[in-house]
Amino acid sequence: MTDFTPIASTLGGILIGISAVLLMAWEGRIAGISGIASRLLPPYLDGAFLSRIGFVLGLVAAPVAYSVATGQAVLQSVSSNLPQMAVAGLLVGFGSVYGNGCTSGHGVCGLSRLSVRSLVATLTFMAAAFATVFVIRHVAGA
């Protein structure tokens, strides 16, 4: 079980939205994490590498900054089934780049721009994720 946290979750969502808006205002780019992270790998087709590494380092540093600022540890519960996590990582990396976006690029930025393409992508990955968890937890019984 995890606690239902509507207020903290909405607040966190607003911060994510503000970050996306400011990135558009500053660089004119979409805050899609799969796009930003995957372009850290070659080939480098534009001059935005330093910007991208900055954004990714900010993400990496965020839990540390949060803990320093609030004095609270960031709680996280991750599966220790390593073969399963390896497969999950491969699918997430491949699928998000092949499908041109993930939760942030299609889900947040695309939906807020009323992109039909992003809506279709978001419904597709949500449906696939719901179905996957259903199969793992209620069919396979893991």
Partner: protein, 143 residues
């Protein structure tokens, strides 16, 4: 300068992930478990982010250009093809297996879980393979 601004924006984004609970795969998997221990919190993350960006983008895109760039880079509205459906479905399956999407996998770097340390390099490998697949597809189409 852009490096520093992006660092700050990545930090803001990541703190949003942490405060919202999205950085915790257990919370994500419970959100995805409609018929079990369902935790609807993540719908509020998406709601808060999308509504904020909806109004914010409208203000920003009224400007002639971004502060540190020559033009806004908005994804072209290309048709919905097999690639976007297949890619999104593959991504969704992986998200359902591990509970990590790319952002939370990156905020997990300093949190010390072995699962994240296996997930992350495999995610980058998957991204690299997808870029190769896209490049070869484009080459075939162009030929």
């Amino acid at each position: 300068m852009s490096f520093v601004v992006n660092l700050a924006l990545g930090l803001l984004f990541g703190i949003g992930l942490v405060i919202s609970g999205m950085s915790d795969p257990a919370k994500v998997l419970n959100f995805l478990d409609l018929f079990g221990t369902w935790d609807p919190s993540l719908a509020f993350v998406m709601g808060g982010a999308v509504i904020t960006a909806f109004f914010g983008y409208r203000l920003v895109l009224r400007q002639p250009k971004p502060v540190a760039g020559t033009s806004f880079h908005l994804p072209a509205s290309t048709p919905i093809d097999r690639r976007i459906l297949l890619g999104s479905a593959i991504f969704g399956i992986g998200w359902g297996v591990g509970g990590f999407c790319p952002g939370p996998a990156l905020t997990a770097v300093t949190l010390g879980s072995s699962g994240a340390y296996v997930f992350l390099p495999m995610m980058f490998l998957g991204m690299w393979l997808a870029r190769l697949a896209v490049a070869s597809r484009t080459a075939i189409t162009a030929a």
